[in-house]
Assembly symmetry: C2
Protein backbone atom coordinates (compact mmCIF):
# COMPACT_ATOMS: atom_id res chain seq x y z
CA UNK A 1 0.00 0.00 0.00
CA UNK A 2 1.50 3.28 -1.12
CA UNK A 3 0.07 5.13 1.89
CA UNK A 4 2.67 3.43 4.08
CA UNK A 5 5.81 5.42 4.61
CA UNK A 6 9.11 3.64 5.01
CA UNK A 7 12.43 4.88 6.35
CA UNK A 8 15.49 2.85 5.42
CA UNK A 9 18.71 3.32 7.35
CA UNK A 10 22.03 2.17 5.96
CA UNK A 11 24.99 2.62 8.25
CA UNK A 12 28.66 2.13 8.80
CA UNK A 13 29.47 -0.42 11.48
CA UNK A 14 29.66 1.27 14.88
CA UNK A 15 27.95 4.49 13.74
CA UNK A 16 24.89 3.85 15.91
CA UNK A 17 22.53 3.53 12.94
CA UNK A 18 20.52 0.79 14.59
CA UNK A 19 20.02 2.81 17.75
CA UNK A 20 19.01 5.84 15.67
CA UNK A 21 16.53 3.63 13.79
CA UNK A 22 14.93 2.57 17.07
CA UNK A 23 14.79 6.16 18.31
CA UNK A 24 13.10 7.30 15.10
CA UNK A 25 10.60 4.45 15.24
CA UNK A 26 9.78 5.24 18.85
CA UNK A 27 9.24 8.92 18.07
CA UNK A 28 6.92 8.04 15.20
CA UNK A 29 5.17 5.14 16.88
CA UNK A 30 6.00 2.67 14.12
CA UNK A 31 8.00 -0.60 14.25
CA UNK A 32 11.71 -0.86 13.57
CA UNK A 33 13.10 -3.90 11.76
CA UNK A 34 16.83 -4.41 12.07
CA UNK A 35 18.92 -7.11 10.41
CA UNK A 36 18.47 -9.60 13.26
CA UNK A 37 14.71 -9.28 13.11
CA UNK A 38 14.71 -9.57 9.31
CA UNK A 39 16.88 -12.67 9.48
CA UNK A 40 14.53 -14.17 12.04
CA UNK A 41 11.42 -13.40 9.97
CA UNK A 42 13.11 -14.80 6.87
CA UNK A 43 13.96 -18.00 8.69
CA UNK A 44 10.49 -18.43 10.13
CA UNK A 45 8.81 -17.64 6.81
CA UNK A 46 10.36 -20.71 5.21
CA UNK A 47 11.09 -18.51 2.19
CA UNK A 48 14.76 -19.34 2.12
CA UNK A 49 13.97 -23.04 1.93
CA UNK A 50 11.61 -22.38 -0.98
CA UNK A 51 14.22 -20.40 -2.89
CA UNK A 52 16.95 -22.97 -2.30
CA UNK A 53 14.68 -25.80 -3.45
CA UNK A 54 13.39 -24.01 -6.53
CA UNK A 55 16.92 -23.15 -7.55
CA UNK A 56 18.15 -26.66 -6.78
CA UNK A 57 15.88 -27.95 -9.54
CA UNK A 58 17.63 -25.74 -12.06
CA UNK A 59 21.15 -26.46 -10.93
CA UNK A 60 23.33 -27.15 -13.89
CA UNK A 61 26.58 -27.18 -12.03
CA UNK A 62 27.27 -30.80 -11.08
CA UNK A 63 30.67 -31.14 -9.44
CA UNK A 64 31.29 -27.40 -10.00
CA UNK A 65 28.29 -26.50 -7.85
CA UNK A 66 29.26 -29.06 -5.26
CA UNK A 67 32.73 -27.65 -4.85
CA UNK A 68 31.98 -23.94 -5.13
CA UNK A 69 28.46 -23.79 -3.75
CA UNK A 70 27.47 -22.09 -7.00
CA UNK A 71 25.96 -23.23 -10.26
CA UNK A 72 27.35 -22.26 -13.65
CA UNK A 73 25.47 -18.98 -13.47
CA UNK A 74 27.30 -18.15 -10.26
CA UNK A 75 24.10 -18.51 -8.28
CA UNK A 76 24.83 -19.21 -4.62
CA UNK A 77 23.15 -19.83 -1.31
CA UNK A 78 23.91 -16.20 -0.49
CA UNK A 79 21.87 -15.18 -3.53
CA UNK A 80 18.93 -17.26 -2.32
CA UNK A 81 19.23 -15.64 1.07
CA UNK A 82 19.25 -12.20 -0.52
CA UNK A 83 16.15 -12.99 -2.58
CA UNK A 84 14.31 -14.35 0.45
CA UNK A 85 15.23 -11.32 2.57
CA UNK A 86 14.24 -8.96 -0.24
CA UNK A 87 10.82 -10.62 -0.38
CA UNK A 88 10.44 -10.27 3.40
CA UNK A 89 11.42 -6.59 3.23
CA UNK A 90 8.93 -5.91 0.44
CA UNK A 91 6.19 -7.61 2.43
CA UNK A 92 7.02 -5.59 5.57
CA UNK A 93 6.94 -2.37 3.55
CA UNK A 94 3.60 -3.34 2.01
CA UNK A 95 2.08 -4.17 5.37
CA UNK A 96 2.76 -1.04 7.38
CA UNK A 97 4.84 2.11 7.86
CA UNK A 98 8.15 1.19 9.46
CA UNK A 99 11.87 1.81 9.85
CA UNK A 100 14.17 -0.78 8.27
CA UNK A 101 17.84 -0.83 9.25
CA UNK A 102 20.37 -2.50 7.00
CA UNK A 103 19.96 -5.42 4.55
CA UNK A 104 20.08 -3.05 1.55
CA UNK A 105 16.43 -2.17 2.09
CA UNK A 106 16.96 1.15 0.32
CA UNK A 107 17.76 -0.52 -2.97
CA UNK A 108 15.22 -3.31 -2.55
CA UNK A 109 12.53 -0.63 -2.19
CA UNK A 110 14.13 1.79 -4.66
CA UNK A 111 11.26 1.63 -7.12
CA UNK A 112 8.74 2.75 -4.53
CA UNK A 113 7.96 6.42 -4.07
CA UNK A 114 7.20 6.20 -0.38
CA UNK A 115 10.69 5.65 1.01
CA UNK A 116 13.04 8.03 2.81
CA UNK A 117 16.60 6.69 2.47
CA UNK A 118 19.14 7.54 5.16
CA UNK A 119 22.85 6.83 5.55
CA UNK A 120 24.58 7.11 8.93
CA UNK A 121 28.35 7.38 9.22
CA UNK A 122 30.99 8.50 11.71
CA UNK A 123 34.74 8.82 12.00
CA UNK A 124 36.85 5.71 12.62
CA UNK A 125 37.65 7.02 16.12
CA UNK A 126 34.02 7.48 17.12
CA UNK A 127 33.02 4.13 15.67
CA UNK A 128 35.88 2.31 17.38
CA UNK A 129 34.85 3.91 20.66
CA UNK A 130 31.26 2.85 20.15
CA UNK A 131 32.27 -0.69 19.18
CA UNK A 132 34.26 -0.90 22.41
CA UNK A 133 31.77 0.64 24.79
CA UNK A 134 28.47 -0.57 23.26
CA UNK A 135 29.38 -3.94 21.82
CA UNK A 136 32.25 -4.70 24.19
CA UNK A 137 34.49 -5.48 21.24
CA UNK A 138 38.18 -5.64 22.05
CA UNK A 139 39.94 -4.48 18.95
CA UNK A 140 43.70 -4.19 18.62
CA UNK A 141 43.58 -2.36 15.35
CA UNK A 142 40.16 -0.67 15.08
CA UNK A 143 40.97 1.01 11.78
CA UNK A 144 41.65 -2.27 9.93
CA UNK A 145 38.71 -3.94 11.66
CA UNK A 146 36.24 -1.23 10.67
CA UNK A 147 37.62 -0.86 7.15
CA UNK A 148 37.21 -4.60 6.66
CA UNK A 149 33.59 -4.34 7.87
CA UNK A 150 32.94 -1.44 5.49
CA UNK A 151 34.56 -3.32 2.63
CA UNK A 152 32.18 -6.24 3.09
CA UNK A 153 29.09 -4.05 3.27
CA UNK A 154 30.27 -2.18 0.20
CA UNK A 155 30.91 -5.39 -1.78
CA UNK A 156 27.53 -6.85 -0.79
CA UNK A 157 25.73 -3.68 -1.83
CA UNK A 158 27.66 -3.46 -5.09
CA UNK A 159 26.81 -7.07 -5.91
CA UNK A 160 23.08 -6.93 -5.23
CA UNK A 161 22.27 -3.28 -5.84
CA UNK A 162 24.85 -2.50 -8.49
CA UNK A 163 25.58 0.87 -6.97
CA UNK A 164 27.97 2.42 -4.50
CA UNK A 165 27.30 1.94 -0.83
CA UNK A 166 27.71 5.17 1.08
CA UNK A 167 27.70 7.42 -2.01
CA UNK A 168 25.78 10.59 -1.15
CA UNK A 169 23.75 10.35 -4.36
CA UNK A 170 22.02 7.17 -3.18
CA UNK A 171 20.46 8.67 -0.06
CA UNK A 172 18.04 11.48 0.67
CA UNK A 173 19.90 12.23 3.88
CA UNK A 174 23.39 11.29 5.10
CA UNK A 175 24.40 12.22 8.64
CA UNK A 176 27.60 12.09 10.67
CA UNK A 177 26.31 10.64 13.95
CA UNK A 178 29.69 11.10 15.63
CA UNK A 179 29.56 14.87 15.16
CA UNK A 180 25.82 15.45 15.42
CA UNK A 181 24.97 12.90 18.10
CA UNK A 182 22.40 10.08 17.86
CA UNK A 183 19.55 12.09 19.37
CA UNK A 184 19.97 14.94 16.86
CA UNK A 185 20.12 12.48 13.95
CA UNK A 186 16.91 10.77 15.09
CA UNK A 187 15.23 14.15 15.41
CA UNK A 188 16.14 15.20 11.84
CA UNK A 189 15.01 11.90 10.34
CA UNK A 190 11.74 11.91 12.23
CA UNK A 191 11.08 15.51 11.17
CA UNK A 192 11.40 14.47 7.52
CA UNK A 193 8.87 11.69 7.81
CA UNK B 1 37.94 33.52 16.78
CA UNK B 2 36.63 30.09 17.69
CA UNK B 3 33.34 31.48 18.93
CA UNK B 4 32.34 32.10 15.32
CA UNK B 5 30.35 29.33 13.76
CA UNK B 6 30.73 28.56 10.08
CA UNK B 7 28.55 26.55 7.73
CA UNK B 8 30.16 25.37 4.51
CA UNK B 9 27.99 24.19 1.65
CA UNK B 10 29.41 22.09 -1.17
CA UNK B 11 26.99 21.27 -3.93
CA UNK B 12 26.41 19.63 -7.25
CA UNK B 13 25.76 22.05 -10.07
CA UNK B 14 22.05 22.79 -10.33
CA UNK B 15 21.17 21.35 -6.92
CA UNK B 16 20.22 24.76 -5.51
CA UNK B 17 23.03 24.78 -2.94
CA UNK B 18 23.65 28.49 -3.33
CA UNK B 19 19.98 29.32 -2.81
CA UNK B 20 19.89 27.05 0.25
CA UNK B 21 22.98 28.83 1.58
CA UNK B 22 21.24 32.17 1.28
CA UNK B 23 18.10 30.85 2.94
CA UNK B 24 20.13 29.47 5.87
CA UNK B 25 22.05 32.73 6.26
CA UNK B 26 18.82 34.71 6.24
CA UNK B 27 17.25 32.47 8.88
CA UNK B 28 20.31 32.85 11.09
CA UNK B 29 20.96 36.51 10.39
CA UNK B 30 24.55 35.94 9.23
CA UNK B 31 26.17 36.71 5.87
CA UNK B 32 26.45 34.23 3.02
CA UNK B 33 29.57 34.18 0.83
CA UNK B 34 29.21 32.39 -2.46
CA UNK B 35 31.90 31.79 -5.05
CA UNK B 36 31.25 35.03 -6.89
CA UNK B 37 31.60 37.05 -3.72
CA UNK B 38 34.76 35.19 -2.72
CA UNK B 39 36.26 35.75 -6.16
CA UNK B 40 35.44 39.44 -5.88
CA UNK B 41 36.96 39.77 -2.41
CA UNK B 42 40.05 37.88 -3.55
CA UNK B 43 40.47 40.20 -6.50
CA UNK B 44 40.00 43.34 -4.43
CA UNK B 45 42.32 42.11 -1.69
CA UNK B 46 45.28 42.10 -4.07
CA UNK B 47 46.23 38.74 -2.54
CA UNK B 48 46.34 36.94 -5.85
CA UNK B 49 48.83 39.48 -7.18
CA UNK B 50 50.99 38.94 -4.09
CA UNK B 51 50.97 35.18 -4.49
CA UNK B 52 51.73 35.32 -8.19
CA UNK B 53 54.64 37.71 -7.62
CA UNK B 54 56.12 35.81 -4.71
CA UNK B 55 56.00 32.61 -6.70
CA UNK B 56 57.36 34.30 -9.81
CA UNK B 57 60.57 34.94 -7.90
CA UNK B 58 61.04 31.21 -7.35
CA UNK B 59 60.18 30.13 -10.82
CA UNK B 60 62.73 27.68 -12.08
CA UNK B 61 60.92 26.69 -15.19
CA UNK B 62 62.22 28.91 -18.00
CA UNK B 63 60.74 27.89 -21.32
CA UNK B 64 58.86 25.06 -19.57
CA UNK B 65 56.99 27.52 -17.38
CA UNK B 66 56.35 29.82 -20.33
CA UNK B 67 54.75 27.08 -22.37
CA UNK B 68 52.84 25.25 -19.66
CA UNK B 69 52.11 28.07 -17.24
CA UNK B 70 53.74 25.93 -14.56
CA UNK B 71 57.19 25.78 -12.99
CA UNK B 72 59.10 22.52 -12.55
CA UNK B 73 57.20 21.85 -9.34
CA UNK B 74 53.97 21.99 -11.30
CA UNK B 75 52.96 25.21 -9.60
CA UNK B 76 50.42 27.13 -11.67
CA UNK B 77 48.37 30.29 -11.67
CA UNK B 78 45.44 28.15 -10.58
CA UNK B 79 47.44 27.16 -7.49
CA UNK B 80 48.08 30.82 -6.67
CA UNK B 81 44.41 31.53 -7.06
CA UNK B 82 43.56 28.66 -4.75
CA UNK B 83 46.01 29.88 -2.10
CA UNK B 84 44.68 33.43 -2.31
CA UNK B 85 41.07 32.24 -2.05
CA UNK B 86 41.95 29.96 0.85
CA UNK B 87 43.44 32.92 2.70
CA UNK B 88 40.33 35.00 2.03
CA UNK B 89 38.10 32.16 3.29
CA UNK B 90 40.16 31.77 6.48
CA UNK B 91 39.94 35.49 7.11
CA UNK B 92 36.16 35.51 6.58
CA UNK B 93 35.80 32.60 9.01
CA UNK B 94 37.98 34.35 11.57
CA UNK B 95 36.03 37.57 11.30
CA UNK B 96 32.45 36.42 11.83
CA UNK B 97 29.93 33.60 11.74
CA UNK B 98 28.84 32.98 8.16
CA UNK B 99 27.73 30.58 5.45
CA UNK B 100 30.28 29.84 2.73
CA UNK B 101 29.11 28.17 -0.48
CA UNK B 102 31.63 26.38 -2.70
CA UNK B 103 35.35 27.02 -3.19
CA UNK B 104 36.27 23.94 -1.11
CA UNK B 105 35.72 25.93 2.08
CA UNK B 106 35.03 22.71 3.99
CA UNK B 107 38.53 21.41 3.44
CA UNK B 108 40.19 24.80 3.82
CA UNK B 109 38.60 25.08 7.28
CA UNK B 110 38.88 21.37 8.07
CA UNK B 111 41.24 21.86 10.99
CA UNK B 112 38.83 24.16 12.78
CA UNK B 113 36.31 22.75 15.22
CA UNK B 114 33.62 25.34 14.58
CA UNK B 115 32.48 24.27 11.13
CA UNK B 116 29.35 22.44 10.01
CA UNK B 117 30.02 20.87 6.60
CA UNK B 118 27.09 20.29 4.25
CA UNK B 119 26.78 18.66 0.83
CA UNK B 120 23.76 19.26 -1.40
CA UNK B 121 22.93 16.98 -4.30
CA UNK B 122 19.99 16.08 -6.52
CA UNK B 123 19.14 13.76 -9.38
CA UNK B 124 20.29 14.64 -12.90
CA UNK B 125 16.64 15.26 -13.88
CA UNK B 126 16.00 17.75 -11.07
CA UNK B 127 19.30 19.54 -11.68
CA UNK B 128 18.72 19.78 -15.42
CA UNK B 129 15.30 21.24 -14.74
CA UNK B 130 16.78 23.78 -12.33
CA UNK B 131 19.55 24.70 -14.76
CA UNK B 132 16.92 25.34 -17.40
CA UNK B 133 14.40 27.25 -15.31
CA UNK B 134 16.73 29.14 -12.93
CA UNK B 135 19.80 29.77 -15.04
CA UNK B 136 18.07 29.75 -18.40
CA UNK B 137 20.58 27.24 -19.71
CA UNK B 138 19.63 25.55 -22.93
CA UNK B 139 21.14 22.11 -22.77
CA UNK B 140 20.78 19.49 -25.46
CA UNK B 141 22.26 16.73 -23.37
CA UNK B 142 21.84 17.68 -19.71
CA UNK B 143 23.31 14.43 -18.44
CA UNK B 144 26.69 14.93 -20.17
CA UNK B 145 26.69 18.60 -19.28
CA UNK B 146 26.10 18.00 -15.59
CA UNK B 147 28.49 15.04 -15.43
CA UNK B 148 31.20 17.21 -16.95
CA UNK B 149 30.51 19.90 -14.33
CA UNK B 150 30.69 17.32 -11.53
CA UNK B 151 33.89 15.87 -12.96
CA UNK B 152 35.58 19.27 -12.80
CA UNK B 153 34.48 19.98 -9.26
CA UNK B 154 35.61 16.52 -8.25
CA UNK B 155 39.03 16.91 -9.89
CA UNK B 156 39.55 20.35 -8.32
CA UNK B 157 38.63 19.05 -4.89
CA UNK B 158 40.84 15.99 -5.29
CA UNK B 159 43.78 18.15 -6.31
CA UNK B 160 43.59 20.70 -3.51
CA UNK B 161 41.94 18.74 -0.72
CA UNK B 162 43.25 15.27 -1.54
CA UNK B 163 39.93 13.71 -0.73
CA UNK B 164 36.77 12.69 -2.52
CA UNK B 165 34.27 15.36 -3.38
CA UNK B 166 30.75 14.26 -2.53
CA UNK B 167 31.80 11.29 -0.39
CA UNK B 168 29.41 11.08 2.58
CA UNK B 169 32.31 10.73 5.02
CA UNK B 170 33.54 14.25 4.31
CA UNK B 171 30.34 16.00 5.39
CA UNK B 172 28.34 16.23 8.58
CA UNK B 173 25.15 16.41 6.56
CA UNK B 174 24.36 15.49 2.95
CA UNK B 175 20.90 16.24 1.58
CA UNK B 176 19.00 15.48 -1.61
CA UNK B 177 17.48 18.87 -2.39
CA UNK B 178 15.48 17.46 -5.30
CA UNK B 179 13.58 15.09 -3.02
CA UNK B 180 13.43 17.16 0.17
CA UNK B 181 12.99 20.62 -1.35
CA UNK B 182 15.18 23.68 -0.79
CA UNK B 183 13.11 25.07 2.10
CA UNK B 184 13.30 21.82 4.06
CA UNK B 185 17.06 21.57 3.49
CA UNK B 186 17.59 25.13 4.74
CA UNK B 187 15.48 24.35 7.79
CA UNK B 188 17.53 21.25 8.73
CA UNK B 189 20.85 23.05 8.28
CA UNK B 190 19.75 26.08 10.29
CA UNK B 191 18.46 23.79 13.07
CA UNK B 192 21.92 22.21 13.36
CA UNK B 193 23.68 25.52 13.76
Amino acid sequence: MMSNRIITISREFGSGGRTIGRMVAERLGIPCYDHELIDKITEESGLLKTFVESNAEDIQGGWFAMITGRDFYGHSLQDDLYLAQAKVIRELADKESCVIVGRSADCILAEQGNVLTVFIHASIEKRAERARTQYGLKIDDPESFLKEKDKRRKAYYQLYCDRKWGATQNYHVALDSGELGLERCAQIIASLY
